[in-house]
Amino acid sequence: MYSVVLTELGISVFNDGKLDKAFSFSNPVKEYLLVKNKESKLNELVNYLASTQRGFSVSDESLLAILKKYSIDCHLMEESELDEIQTNKPQIIVDSGFASNLQDTLGKLREFALGLSSSKVTEVSESPDLHIIQAINSLDEIDKIANGLSSRLREWYGLHFPELDNIIDSINGYAQIVLAGKRESLTKQIFEEAGFPESKVEMLSLISSKSRGGDISDINLSIVQSIAKQVLDFHELRKKLEEHVEAEMQEIAPNTSAILGTAVGARILGRAGSLKKMASLPASTIQVLGAEKALFRSLKTGSQPPKHGLLFQHAMVHAAPRWQRGKIARAVAAKAVIAARVDVYGEGLNQTLLEKLNIRVDEIGKKYENPTEKDMRPPPSFRREGGFGDKPRRREGGDRRREGGDRRREGGDRRREGGDRRREGGDRRREGGDRRREGGFRDNPRRDRREGGFRDNPRRDSGDRREGGFRDNPRRDSGDRREGGFRDNPRRDSGRNDERTDSNKKRKKFGRR
């Protein structure tokens, strides 16, 4: 009875339990993996077995497959034999001469395990989807920092030239003016170079001569200018990240990008943890990713489940009338999972997915063109603050509601910060359950973008907006950074425009705070 046994340190051939021949691995991790991936050639072993001309029982399926390729007569061992090998492995290793004694075996196996685990960690660290996730998170992080810094810049330089704040919406343009120096030294040329339209240049020149601002010392000015420089640098970096995410998403996840857009796609990818994980999620999970808080509450209390989390940022979803959004989010999520699966298998772009989605969304638009009576009911004011689903919630007491606004805003931030940590380990994320609850609501993408404003202000059509990127005055339009979004898909922008007016109305109605 000949048997061929694969161990971590080499392959041994036994004849009736006695060692016949041993082929040790010189680089165990590499060679073992080659066998497992059925990529080994195993010339020596094959030649030896071929010359022995016997039937062999083999301890490992991959090894079996390789040997079969070379038409060696072999079969897989019985369960009981495999069990025995499992149990006696250290002894087998010693008998094969792969290690000198049992202690040595343990040491070598441990080394092997460490090397194998390390190589897996290294391999995973190289996967492009993890890099995309880092990029999109950096982008969101930069927005947060730059928004804060931009407000500060306006406040500080505003002591010197308060009128500027109301005229220049674009933080990019504002920072460029600050870099030019004191009010007195601002010339028409500077305004022109900063890219302002003529009408604005006129206004600026007029106003800078009549400013009510105070003087600013050189040392203060130079610090303010450094801040302005930072803001501009962030703008550059942001642009780079945006382009990078876009390009990488098109490359590694073209279908997901087609369905979700590169930015929303990347954010959902980030929530899922990896493209593979995203592909294995149920569509219903994708639909509410980013609305975990509302989801858990609905599971516990039986209240309405959220209709969309991050997907709220999707152009098709937020451009739609309120009562259609849940349905569209579901359609988008369903296609997104399929898209992610196609992407995992690297099949390239499949146009029909997007076409089908468009058809479906049109259908929804027609079928639910008018809201039902239920849809028409005005949402409770609580929702205006928190805004995560379309129906009034049970069990939302008045108190909670009042507190809600602030807590929620805070929670949003914390979520961002926590983002990485959570992803680090499935467990930590789960354990975060309680903590999350303290953190407040975390479901509405708008929520945490409130302070936001590192993007263009869609409302104000100042000339410099087209330069893209930075948004104007963060203080001014706290509410709707979401529209600023990424310009991933020009087609979608039309949708966005509708949404802009829509949400502006909303903001006016509900007030800013």
Partner: protein, 250 residues
Amino acid sequence: MALEIIQEEIVEGMMKEQIQIKREKSLEDDNQSFFWIKSEGQKKLATENMVPGNQVYKEKLIIKKNIEYRLWDPFRSKLAAAIMNDLEYFPFENKSTVLYLGASTGTTVSHISDIVGSNGIVFAVEHASRVARDFLDRVATFRKNIVAILQDARKPKEYFSVFGKVDVVYVDIAQPDQTQIAMDNCEMYLKKGGYFFLVIKTRSIDVTKAPKRIVEEEIERLKPRFEVLQTIDLHPYDKDHAMVIAKFNH
């Protein structure tokens, strides 16, 4: 550099505190396993540091009579929490072999490694590569009795480098189907009569059900093959967590 600083702190701390060490005997025999150390006026859990000077999760190190101990934080490790909550069975001892599923960054694994010592083995399975990175860097690289297995516990057949049967299987993977996964692993790797520790995180099984019911249901599943010895609520160290200790009858 960091190491030096840490050691200074220990020496300082040692002189300031009256440290008492009481040997805690394991139930099976006279092997020492974990210790109670008086620190800051409180009785605290500790293990003897197998790799002196090495901290795993910023836990406090205390030197007494030239032996270094690592405090074992029940808020960070569920096994420690179980001990605090009157765990009656402690089969982890010198020379034990343990299969540990859900090693994470290695907090608990490191203490078990301290306990089983250089003649014991901990096969530590973890599949998330981000936490595994920390686990390798902080724990597995320094401890000669840990065999790191970066694989999915759902496929016990494919683990590399596990051999023989182990004395204890410890499972903390927070998966909805963890009981099944755990039982499959026991089937393959646990000795007859071996011990089985299962951490049940009720919220990751079903958020809608009452925690108590979930624990009961999970225990029910174990019954055909295991004798359930003790169930411990890990409150206040962990919310909605229970530890079930069972013996494998097979």
